[in-house]
């Protein structure tokens, strides 16, 4: 079922300098984005960061204060939602609660005046693909959550939109079922090769679903990249902190150059790293203070690191709290009055109060400019 323009991945949607202000409050600021046919983009950010407002502007339910939206090369700012060919699945599904599932699915076709038999055929085969055949004449309000979600997606697909938008559809589904529906959605997207924009505040959901993730915060774009890049090379302090669970450790350190090494002092503990390991030029290191970021998974036990051929200054710390999550354990380490989180595989068993020595994997260290939070390394 490829799209009409054949396999070359033409540009489907372009946002240029999109801006939205609600009486003084800037909800979305200068957003530029280009989305290719068949891509699955996630808008990720805390609540109130403007991701839903952007979605609603694309759907035509909100009018931008400034900036243009191009869909398949055509400017759609002035078009009303009905004419945009954009489908939107709402957070609480917005089904027509007083209608049966069949009428919900057929709504888009009935108002286009599609003939009865044609409508019936389309609805039946979509219902079969979404396992809704047995529910066709049940009232929408009596469905369980996962059925509601499937009806909402199927109903939107039946209008054959160019672009499919999701506004946190899995928000109120309990964990366990949520992972299953997430995998289903990902499989559906690959199968239908539909372009989708998926809004969520759950970083795990964005990492697992998105081909690319647009991380937003307070109306501004923090980073636009693949999940791997965002995880391994966060561009700002916000992205580094928001992505990854447990979140990254941040340490305010003073640094000084010592010949080939840079030594960082952090609450009485100093560790130095070969300059060659940090591919960062001198000139970037303005000022005295630097914020060093290291993910809990990248703090290794000193002896284990030795075996792996990674050499660095060992830090000795006391085990304060252990979170046995099965495959891995999250350990809170206390050194002086500072806390650092570390993840270790479950073979090693520690008790509260043990003293262990660990090292920061130099290849995974991130340096942030304390003033504007932008990344240096």
């Amino acid at each position: 079922m490829g799209n009409a323009e054949g396999k070359d991945r033409g540009i489907l949607l372009e946002l240029c300098g999109l801006q939205k202000e609600f009486d003084g409050f800037v909800a979305v600021e200068g957003l530029d984005l280009t989305i290719v046919e068949g891509e699955f983009i996630c808008f990720l950010g805390p609540s109130g960061c403007g991701k839903t407002t952007t979605l609603r502007m694309i759907a035509g339910l909100e009018t931008p204060t400034s900036g243009e939206i191009y869909l398949r090369g055509r400017k759609i700012n002035d078009l009303i939602p009905q004419q945009r060919g954009v489908g939107l699945v709402f957070q609480n599904y917005a089904l027509f609660w007083h209608m049966t599932v069949y009428d919900n699915l057929a709504f888009g076709l009935r108002i286009r005046g599609v003939s009865r038999e044609e409508m019936d055929k389309y609805v039946k085969d979509v219902a079969e693909r979404f396992e809704l055949e047995s529910l066709l004449n049940i009232k929408a309000r009596r469905l369980d959550l996962s059925a509601m979600q499937r009806v909402a997606v199927a109903r939107t697909l039946l209008t054959d939109p160019y672009l499919l938008l999701f506004d946190e559809p899995l928000n109120n589904i309990r964990p366990g079922l949520r992972e299953i529906l997430r995998a289903e959605l990902k499989r559906l997207q690959k199968e239908l090769n539909r372009t989708m924009i998926y809004v969520t505040h759950d970083q795990e959901e964005a990492m697992t679903l998105g081909d690319r993730i647009l991380v937003m915060n307070a109306g501004k774009v923090e980073q636009l990249d693949t999940p791997r890049q965002i995880y391994l090379h966060p561009r700002t302090l916000f992205v580094a902190d928001f992505i990854g669970r447990p979140s990254m450790n941040f340490m305010e350190t003073e640094y000084e150059m010592k010949g080939e090494k840079i030594s960082f002092k952090w609450n009485g503990f100093s560790f130095n790293i070969e300059k060659k390991d940090l591919d960062v030029e001198e000139k970037h290191l303005k000022g005295k203070k630097l914020i060093v970021g290291i993910r809990p998974e990248h703090i290794l036990l000193a002896d284990e690191a030795e075996k792996g051929g990674i050499s660095a200054e060992p830090l000795s710390a006391m085990v304060d709290l252990i979170q046995p999550l099965g495959a891995k354990k999250i350990i809170d380490l206390k050194s002086g009055d500072h806390m650092v989180k570390m993840v270790s595989s479950s073979e090693y068993s520690f008790k509260r109060g043990d003293r262990i020595s660990v090292i920061f994997d130099p290849r995974r260290i991130h340096l942030f400019d304390p003033k504007d939070g932008r990344v240096i390394l």
């Binding site: 009409a4 009303i80 004419q83 060919g85 286009r112 389309y122 054959d160 239908l192």
Partner: protein
């Protein structure tokens, strides 16, 4: 999945400038007509209440009285105007002050009783479903019966208890027949208070009465006030029971107005003046609780 459908939605270009202006004009015309229809009757009442006798039925009718006068209002308070005054009024039956005093005693007390009884019963119904689900329905029907049907047995009953033409008698009637409204409105407000807050207080060691008065009541204060005001309006404007159960000593304002219209004949000025005064309390309280009027009148079934 089927291919892109040919039947695209008919392109509906945004409304052209001219059509939008026309719709705007029609819209404002309707608003004006509706405003006139609703405002005009009361404006006429007010204007008549300030007109001297010769202007009451003057033709052509004028909204602003040519010679405005306060006589009509003064006449209500002391019926014997000094001899030289312009009006050659027959002696008016009796000063209106008596009926206002009666109303200002009967209605507030009845409202208080109705609100408190309604609050306690609403708490019982909301938290413990006391009386099963029949209780709310039963209380509702007391409101739906035509009052005159109840008045028949009550008259006989009141005669035996010598409650006819007494303020106490009227207070009991007004409290009893508005308790349905209080119960329903208060139930809505009490349902809004989460049960867990009360359970937390019980676990902290508070007795059930203490929870009711120190936790639930403060949280529904606003609702109780709205309910009381709403019941006040119902009682202040009630006419039939007052007409039947009072004769001279404890007549209320609406009954006084009905006597006035009958007895005084074509003296429309003072009648209009009494109409204006009778409406003032109800309208003021009405606007105070404008938000809750919907909940009240619809027995809490529709919430603003």
């Amino acid at each position: 999945m089927r291919e892109r459908s040919s039947g695209r939605v008919s392109a509906q270009v945004a409304l052209p400038k001219r059509r939008r202006w026309l719709r705007w004009g029609a819209h404002w015309l309707i608003v004006l007509v509706v405003l006139l229809f609703f405002a005009m009757p009361v404006v006429w009442l007010l204007s008549v209440s300030f007109k001297p006798p010769q202007e009451w039925q003057a033709f052509p009718p004028t909204v602003i009285p040519r010679g405005p006068t306060l006589n009509n209002y003064l006449l209500l308070v002391n019926p014997e105007l000094p001899k030289g005054s312009a009006s050659y009024m027959l002696r008016v039956t009796e000063p209106v002050t008596k009926s206002f005093i009666n109303s200002l005693i009967i209605v507030p007390i009845a409202t208080l009783i109705s609100a408190m009884v309604g609050f306690l019963a609403a708490y019982g119904v909301s938290r413990y479903r006391v009386g099963g689900d029949f209780m709310p329905f039963f209380v509702l029907t007391t409101r739906m019966f035509p009052p005159v049907a109840f008045a028949v047995p009550l008259l006989v009953y009141y005669q035996n208890l010598r409650l006819i033409d007494t303020r106490l008698g009227m207070i009991i009637i007004y409290a009893g027949f508005t308790v349905a409204f209080s119960l329903w409105m208060m139930k809505g407000f009490i349902d809004a208070v989460p049960r867990s807050v009360e359970e937390a207080a019980i676990l902290d060691g508070a007795s059930r009465w203490r929870v009711l008065f120190t936790i639930t009541l403060p949280l529904v204060k606003g609702g109780l006030a709205a309910t009381a005001l709403f019941v006040f309006i119902l009682n202040w404007t009630e006419f039939l029971y007052a007409l039947i159960f009072t004769s001279t000593r404890s007549i209320t304002v609406p009954v006084q107005l009905s006597h006035y219209v009958g007895a005084v004949g074509r003296f429309y000025g003072p009648q209009a003046a009494l109409g204006v005064i009778a409406s003032i309390p109800a309208v003021i309280f009405g606007y105070l609780i404008q938000r809750h009027l919907v909940t009240g009148f619809s027995f809490g079934l529709i919430r603003k």
